[in-house]
Structure formats: C-alpha cells, structure tokens
C-alpha cells in the first residue's frame, strides 16, 4: 500500500446514500420502448468525434463459454454499426485475469478491459492505471440512472467505468418445495428462523451452503451486516473506517451464529456448485447466492421452479433497504493505442443496444440502462429488476467494496475460521481489526 492510500477510502459513501433514486422508477417499469430508442440513438450520434477507425484491442476475463459468446455478440453488433473499427479480443482465464491484473495494467494492457464496479475499480483509477472517460459519459450519461453514475465514478469524481449488467444476491428456493410444505416467504428475522426450524423438522436442509471457494461466506456476512447495522455502517466497515471490534459487528455475527445450525453440514469443503445441486435436488430448502445459481438449473422445468426472495429484515430501522448487486463492466487502460475507437466501443456498450446484445445471448443478468425493454426477460431477470429497483442502497460485494489485500489475505481465512469455530468470534474479530489496521495504514 502506498502512503496516500488511506485517502482513497473517503470517497463514495455520501454519494451512494442518494443512490438509486432514479432507478426506482425506471428499472421496475416494463418496456418503455420510446425511451430505449431515444437513449440508443443519443449514444451514437452527437459525440462522433471525427472518424474513429482501426483496431481496438480488448482484454477480457470472459473465459466461460456462454459469457464469451455473449460478449462476442456485443462486439459483433458494434462492428456491424461501425464499419471502420475492428475489435480484437484477448480472452484470458477468468481467475488468471484477476490474479494478473496489477502487472497486466502496468505493462502493455489492451485498450479496453473488463472489470468490476466498486472500490476495486476506484483503486486502479486512483493509481493512474486507467483512463478518464468523462467524454464517454457525456454521450451515454442520459442512458443511466444516478445510481449507476455514482458506481462508475472514481474517488476523484471522474468517470472511469462503463457498466454492462448487474446480478443481485438473494435467497433462492424452489416454488414447488415451498408449495408442498406450505411455506411462506419470510420477510423478517423471526419468520426466517421459524421457517428454518420447520424445514429442519420436515427433513430438509434449511440453508444450502458451500464455502470452499471462500467468497460465499462474504455474501452472507454482507447481508447480515447491512440488515443488522445498515448500509452506511457496512460501507464504513468495508472502507476501513469502522472497527471490526465494534459491538455492532459482533451483533451481526451473533445473528449468523443463530442460523449457523441450519446451514448445510460440511460447508467448509463444499463448492458452491455442489451446494446448488442440493437445492436443485430438493434436499435443501433455501440458498443465499447470486442469480448465477441459475446456471446449475439446466433443465427448463427446474429453472421455471426457481425463485428468490430478498434477505429478510433484521432491524426494522433498515428493513430490506439494501441489495447486494455486483455490477460488471469495462474500463479504458491508461494509454490506449486507439482511444477514439475505444471511446466509440464504450459508448456502444453503455447503450440499450450494447447491453441488449449481451443479454440476448446470456440471460443470467439484468441490464442497467434506463427503460430497457424487459419483455424478453425470464422470471429470474424480472424478479431481479424488481429487487434492484426496490432497494435504496446497492452494495457491490465484500471483495469489490473493500481493499482486495484485506479481503483475500484476512477476511477469507478469518471467515473460514469463524465458520469452523463460531465460539471464538471475539478473538477472531480482534485479529481482523489488528490485521485491518496493518493493511489499511501501511
């Protein structure tokens, strides 16, 4: 960490408070074709800065088959519209791309690269490893609600990011299982606990869980903390401003300890795919994960049976006002070879046509543009839009909202330690706080 990095954490929280006001109206409402048409035309016409042509290189982490195809559809649609520009895609394995990102961005990166919103994006912006794209946002600004504007800005207030889609985290269940046992969707903590108890007595695993990859526990903690202590405290905690030894954090973990007996045994060594299989096989009743859990429901009948609800409220003060919805998108590298063409590409990605080209191939995610035509959405996508639209605050995910060194070297093993031994939470939180100070102050 460099000496100036603590400054980095002071940025976005105030802005984010006001987040999503615009979205409330837009995303939930189905099909506003007129607006969609208007926004897509505004993205291309006014900003045409002379003749952009040549090749844009693009570094992609979309190594899985479906996203790879979907992104290619975006680039194909872009090239069809801009005859003179060719997009040259360099796809790397998803995890390798993330592991090498530091050296990749410092060496000779592609003009445009795939990345994530949140602190994870702002970090590279603050380090000068990515290029300001205020000009892109002059063109696409009208396409997005204020919340997305805020997500796309660095700590310095400039734009660095163009989003393409989001996917919320929620509690997934099978409608048929809930019908068969006469379960109702719990909205508060007590009804959630009693549902867990009922499921257990009905021979179901109440909450499927697999933390072998170590990030699923982060999603669970994010929700518990936001529901117990509110969005602002969660963000302060992520940005290193609040203390992990705070009684509030302990309270959040106490709620976790309360539901831990209802989690699927053996979670430490289980992969999320296997946990999802137990939900699919109707052995487990609920599963807290991102909407990508649907990838495991390959049979259309099973997929139609899949539904989700927002994580139940714990403190009525916060109710269910926050949603964890990571946003993926694109950034411009620090000195792109063909900036004019890269800007054109980013403008296209940030339009209804660009997002639509992706979602036509991969329907695991939701679009972010205003008034996107949602008539093609499946049930999960529609429910995601409702969930996202109803939320007042959007968190990204622990590993996107906090210092990556902290999440990977401290939180991942410490959350595992907690899951193995919930009783030692006091000493675990002390260790986390000590290590946090070592990392955030270094």
């Amino acid at each position: 960490m460099s000496p100036e990095s603590p400054r980095v954490y002071q940025g976005p929280t105030v802005d984010r408070r006001m987040m999503l006001k615009g979205l409330l109206g837009a995303a939930g409402v189905a099909a506003l074709p007129a607006l969609a048409a208007c926004s897509s035309s505004s993205s291309s016409s006014p900003s045409s800065t002379g003749a952009a042509s040549g090749t844009v290189s693009l570094g992609s982490n979309a190594s899985d088959a479906v996203p790879k195809k979907a992104f290619q559809a975006v680039y194909d649609a872009f090239q069809a519209k801009n005859a003179g520009i060719k997009v040259q895609v360099n796809t790397k394995d998803h995890d390798t791309f993330q592991e090498q990102i530091n050296s990749y961005l410092q060496a000779t990166p592609d003009d445009v690269f795939t990345w994530f919103a949140g602190y994870r994006m702002q970090y590279f912006a603050a380090k000068g490893l990515s290029n300001k794209i205020n000009d892109v946002w002059d063109a696409i600004g009208n396409n997005f609600p204020q919340s997305v504007h805020d997500l796309s800005k660095g700590q310095d207030g400039n734009y660095y990011f163009v989003p393409i889609y989001y996917y919320p985290w929620a509690v997934f269940y099978r409608k048929s299982v809930f019908q068969a046992h006469n379960y109702t969707v719990p909205t508060d903590w007590n009804s959630f606990i009693s549902l867990c108890q009922k499921m257990k007595s009905d021979g179901l695993i109440p909450i499927a869980f697999g933390d072998s990859d170590k990030w699923p526990a982060m999603g669970t903690f994010d929700y518990l903390n936001m529901r117990t202590n509110g969005y602002q405290f969660h963000m302060d905690l992520m940005h290193g401003k609040a203390a992990w030894t705070d009684a509030k954090v302990k309270a959040a973990f106490a709620h976790w300890t309360e539901i831990l007996p209802y989690h699927q045994e053996g979670y430490i060594g289980r992969k999320w795919e296997d946990a999802a299989q137990s939900l699919l096989a109707k052995k487990a009743g609920m599963y807290l994960l991102g909407t990508f859990v649907a990838q495991q429901f390959t049979n259309p009948d099973d997929l139609a049976d899949l539904d989700f609800f927002a994580f139940p409220a714990i403190d009525p003060q916060w109710a269910q006002d926050s949603v964890e919805a990571p946003v993926d998108g694109f950034m411009l590298s620090k000195s792109p070879k063909n900036r004019a063409a890269a800007v054109k590409l980013l403008e296209f990605i940030g339009s209804a046509d660009g997002e639509g080209a992706y979602l036509k191939v991969d329907n695991s995610y939701d679009a972010l543009v205003n008034g996107y035509d949602t008539s093609g959405y499946n049930a999960i996508q529609k429910a995601s839009a409702t969930l996202f639209g109803a939320a007042q605050h959007v968190s990204q995910f622990m590993d996107r909202d906090a210092n990556p060194a902290f999440t990977s070297t401290v939180m991942q093993p410490q959350l595992q330690a907690y899951l193995q031994n919930p009783g030692s939470i006091d000493s675990i939180l002390n260790q986390i706080e000590q290590q946090k100070q070592a990392i955030y102050n270094s």
Binding site: M1, Q98, E99, I101, K127, E265, G269, Q277, P404, P413
Partner: protein
Amino acid sequence: MTVGTSADAVESGRAADRPRRAPGRLRRLTRRDKTVLTLMTGIPTSLMVVFVWVPALASILLSFTSWDGIGLDSIKWIGLRNYRQIFTIYPQFWPAVEHNVIWLVALAAIPTPFGLFLAYQLDKRIRFSRFYQGAFFLPVVVSSAVIGFVWELIYNPDHGLINSLFHTNNPNGSYLDWVGNPKLNLWAVLVAASWRHAGYMMILYLAGLKSVDPTLKDAAAVDGANEWQAFRHVVFPALRPINVVVAVVTVIESLRAFDIVYVFNKGEHGTELLSILITNNIIGEASRIGYGSALAVILLVVSLAVIIPYLIVTFRKERRA
C-alpha cells in the same frame, strides 16, 4: 542435488588433471581457451546472478518495505514491521510453520522408507519388475497439479470416491469432510503427497542399489546373515551416499510443497503452508509485495539452515577424498 553432482564433476575432473599439469596451468592457455572458459563460466554465472541472486537480494530488500507493486515510487521503507506483524498478528503463520514441519516428518517417516522397501523388492528382479517401476514412478511424472485434482475427486465430501464407497456423504448422518475438516484435510493431502514421494524415493534408491556390489550380499549370505541382517548391516550402510541425497530431496520437497495443496483446497482451513501464504500475499490483486517477501525470506532462511550444513558436509568429504 544438482549442486552436489556438478561439484562432484568439477572436483573429480580437477583431481584427474592435477598430476599431469599442476603448476603454471593458466599460463599455457591460449587466447581461444580463455575465451571459451570465460564464456563457459561467464554465461552460467551471469544467469545465476540475474535469475537467482538478484531476485533473492531484491526479496530480502523488499521484505523491509511496504509496496503494492504499482510503480517504484510507492515503495516505502518500514524496517522490521512486516516481520513483527508476521510473528505476532498473522494467524495463519504459525500453523503454516507447523504444517511444514509435519509435512517433513511425515514424508521422512512413511513414504521414504516405503520407497526404499519398494526399491529393495524391485531390485531382486522379480517378475513384471519394469511394470511395477513404471506404476510406482508414474505419480512423479504426472504434474502435481493433476495429482491434486485426481485426489480431489477421491476426497470430495459429497460425491468423491471414498465417501461414496463408505456412505459417509450424508450431511445429516455420518459425514467425513476430507477437504474442509482441519483435523482430516492435512492428512488427506499428505496421503496424496506420500503416494507421489514414495515413487520418487523408489527411483533414487533403485539407482543406489544398482551401485551396491552384489558380492557384498553374497558374502553376507555366506557368513550366515539372514535377509534382514544383510540389509541392515551390509546394504543399508552401502547406501549412505544416496541417503544424503534422499534426505536433502525430502527436505526440499517438504519446504516447497505447494501445488498439490493449492489444487486440493487452496491451502486454507487446516492446510496452510509457507509457500501458499507467500503466494496469497503476492499474487493477485492483494499485492502485499513487502509482506509476501518477508514470508519468502523466512522460508529462505529455513531452507538455508538445512542446505548449508549439507553442503559443508559434502564438500568436506570431497576434500578429504
């Protein structure tokens, strides 16, 4: 091992040369000889300096700094802070040291004698000897990432081979979490590592046994020694040179253990190793280069503490010979 053998070659070559043209040897070298010699020593030396010494020294220097790997101007000198934090507030550090020690003891105690046992049996030229050699040596040839993956399929708690066979995959009943349970997973992964190490040791001992003069065994038999006595008092002492190599290889293997564990469960919740902590801190977005370097220096010091006595013993012995 490599160091030992190349030193052997140099030493024996010089010893052979010495009687013929000991004094003034350098003066008789032509310019061409000198060029060749310069190239032949210069290139390996500079490679060694560039790829071994410079990175090692850089790691040592970086271990006293805090650096996120972005731009040289963000390197900050912080003295011993990394070390202090590693020893005091890094909860994974001491378990990792302990696991490295367990790894060493386990490899030395089980697969190494077992490899010797296999080699001793195969050396008797039993039937299908070549097939057995191939079978036991196969794990050494296969990449350990692949080994980790294969054993992951065997140990997977939900649908792995072991739990499926013994019906211990029922989360509500008997459930053996080979990957996640910290009481089980280190041993589970050690079985995989031992399986590989035994083959390696077998080949080393097989080579050693080939060089044991068979008449020694015959003589022991004539003197009335039984199989065990012959092995214990005649063959095993004759294997002394190879035992040194085996000891060093085992130490090196246990200190650099990484890939099997990393594939098995990324080296956390019970299988932490020093090598994995280094990787976690340096690779990826984490980029705590200084902190990771400090861990690497600790591992380097441990390695040197083992290797230096070995080199001293070896060189002293050769000087005597």
